[in-house]
């Protein structure tokens, strides 16, 4: 095991390389640019190809071609760039082409800003592009997890023949943390044979990669097939971190950077004797509703915290099915929630008296 200090964006590149990704097509945008820059240096020496496309639209379509040709391939961008990629993502999902798409989110809408945000949750998890499709969305909360989830992303993409998105934010992309990273770990992780790929038809019948079904009955069959695959993913791939949820009366739900801040608030709340836990979705789609439902046995309130105006909270409400009240706290514009405010929110939704809990905490410390 090698312990290293790595920057989030570069960690994605290093992990992708270790996972056997040899093709990257992208277009510069802040705050993810260190990732393409890193791969521009590293891919050629690994025998791969880094290509800066003329636009995000071209980049995602290069991914489409490379994936069709059977390669492990990745692209990355940030919010406005992902909007442009959505056309291609819909086609990739329709044609069942495996690839990894990284979105290091910044504030929006429009050109927005360059500070971290989580306001592309809807776009990532509810489609973004046209048609009934789903992509797997992974939300790391640390540089270590960026590495682990990048690995996983390539495996899941190949396994389900589906695009997988790594959804981070500008803070995760820019920060440096110590990580355990060993390229050797990926040795066993090699792409499964892609007999469907369009590589030239030598020795077999021709292959076609396509998303057009002019006959409505055929298109419905294709949709039913996709939906069945999505159901399988929902069953098998839900992932979440459960932190002090077992005895919790209040469950906070947050992902990525927001979850780190909320964790801090949970720790202070526990020190004040408040029984609160954190449920951190790692897969945003499929949403980890099973874990959330489990945590409801004890909980009497849910607090969702996001770096947006309230997007994941809708999935939380769907999973909670009205059994307990769901509250929301969020900041937008690239401003991070601060843990003291989150603590106050925890106390407010839990009906705790702020002064009271403080004295409880003091007595805890005193005792």
């Amino acid at each position: 095991m090698t312990r290293r200090l790595m920057k989030g964006n570069e960690a994605i590149g290093a992990a992708a390389l270790a996972a056997g990704c040899r093709y990257f097509f992208g277009y510069p945008i802040t705050p993810q640019t260190e990732l393409p820059e890193y791969l521009a240096r590293r891919l050629p020496e690994a025998g791969g190809v880094f290509l800066q496309a003329e636009s995000e639209i071209a980049a995602i379509n290069m991914v489409y071609g490379a994936a069709a040709a059977g390669a492990r391939v990745m692209t990355s961008s940030s919010s406005p760039g992902i909007s442009l990629k959505t056309e291609g993502i819909s086609y990739l999902a329709a044609a069942e082409l495996p690839c990894v798409i990284v979105n290091i989110m910044r504030g929006g809408p429009g050109l927005g800003g360059i500070q971290p945000a989580q306001s592309d949750y809807f776009q990532a998890t509810k489609g973004g592009g046209h048609g009934d499709y789903r992509i797997i969305v992974l939300a790391p909360a640390s540089v270590q997890e960026i590495i682990d989830l990048t690995r996983l992303a390539f495996e899941l993409a190949d396994l389900y023949r589906n695009p997988v998105m790594i959804l981070g934010d500008g803070l995760l992309g820019q920060m440096m943390e110590a990580v355990e990273f060993n390229e050797e770990d990926d040795k066993g992780n090699r792409p499964i044979p892609k007999t469907w790929a369009t590589t030239g038809c030598k020795g077999r019948k021709k292959n076609i990669i396509n998303s057009l079904y002019l006959d409505p009955a055929e298109l419905e069959q294709h949709n039913l097939h996709l939906q069945e695959k999505y159901r399988e993913i929902v069953q098998k791939e839900q992932r979440a971190e459960e932190y002090l949820t077992r005895d919790a009366e209040i469950i906070t739900v947050a992902f990525g950077t927001a979850a780190r801040i909320v964790k801090e608030a949970v720790v202070s709340a526990r020190a004040r004797g408040i029984k609160v836990g954190l449920l951190r979705p790692i897969t945003l789609w499929p949403f980890p509703e099973n874990a959330l439902k489990r945590s409801l046995q004890r909980a009497r309130a849910i607090l969702t915290v996001e770096m947006n105006a309230g997007q994941m909270v809708e999935d939380v409400k769907l999973a909670v099915e009205g059994k307990v009240p769901v509250y929301f706290y969020g900041r937008t514009g690239g401003i991070l929630p601060d843990s003291r405010t989150v603590l106050k929110e925890i106390q407010r939704v839990g009906g705790y008296d702020y002064e009271d809990s403080l004295s409880k905490a003091e007595s805890l410390v005193g005792g």
Partner: protein, 248 residues
């Protein structure tokens, strides 16, 4: 019995869906014959675009990818970068290439991407019912230029090979037509040269093929061929615009 004429191996069995008199079918055949003659069928990947030729993936008996509207050169780039030994071609209409996909076409050419583009110009959007295209002639009536294309309003037709000729990465650029047998023969030679350009790794190659759309032009197939010759050729002169040393 000696076989003197048959369907190229690079074309699948089955009938084209094209309208009677549409020259898309001739152009398909030319591409397929060239693939056969160069013996590259088993390492060719074709990219079908959006437009009347959207079903080309059914017709060419090679590995085929269906691309989003205009994006075929980017898709081709992805394939070629992964499989440098493959032969990659796109088959695109004028709406697809000269309008929505112009950026992808220009930049594939600028990069000298070793792919071949077959660019079928019928001066309109055939599939969606004959709307104005970037290649529609000034004065030409279409469903979205009902008074004829007016230059002051909609500008002028785009001459794609001429435009790409300034780019160093473009190695072979040519414009041909299929309105009579002599021209069909020349068209095939140009398509072959475009593929040879790719096989020799010289850079980007594109052949614009002037084509008819009798259905949307409201003409009989024979009248359409005549209209092409009389009206399109003056606007889109035939010939090789760029040919890199070593192609012929």
């Amino acid at each position: 019995m000696k076989i003197v004429f048959q369907k190229p191996k690079a074309l699948s069995a089955g009938r084209f869906h094209y309208c009677p008199g549409c020259t898309h079918g001739i152009i398909h055949r030319l591409v397929a014959e060239v693939i056969d003659e160069l013996e590259i069928r088993e390492r060719t990947v074709g990219i079908a675009s959006v437009g009347c030729s959207v079903l080309a993936y059914n017709y060419f008996n090679v590995d085929m990818i269906q691309a989003a509207h205009g994006r075929a050169p980017a898709v081709a780039t992805g394939v070629k970068r992964v499989l440098p030994e493959s032969v990659v071609f796109t088959y695109q209409g004028d709406g697809d290439l000269a309008s929505i996909g112009i950026a992808e076409a220009i930049h594939a050419a600028a990069r000298g991407e070793r792919v071949t583009v077959i660019f079928v110009n019928n001066t309109c959007y055939g599939m969606t019912g004959g709307q104005m295209a970037p290649t529609t002639l000034v004065g030409q009536v279409t469903t979205t230029s009902p008074r004829g294309r007016e230059a002051m309003h909609s500008g002028y037709p785009v001459r794609v090979p001429e435009m790409l000729a300034t780019l160093q990465g473009a190695a072979y650029l040519s414009r041909v037509s299929v309105h009579n047998p002599v021209q069909v023969k020349r068209a095939k030679e140009a398509v072959k040269r475009a593929f040879i350009t790719q096989l020799k790794g010289l850079g980007f190659s594109l052949v614009e093929v002037l084509s008819t759309c009798p259905t949307n032009w409201g003409l009989s197939p024979v009248e359409a061929l005549k209209w092409l010759e009389e009206n399109m050729i003056p606007q889109f002169p035939l010939g090789e615009l760029k040919i890199t040393e070593g192609v012929a």
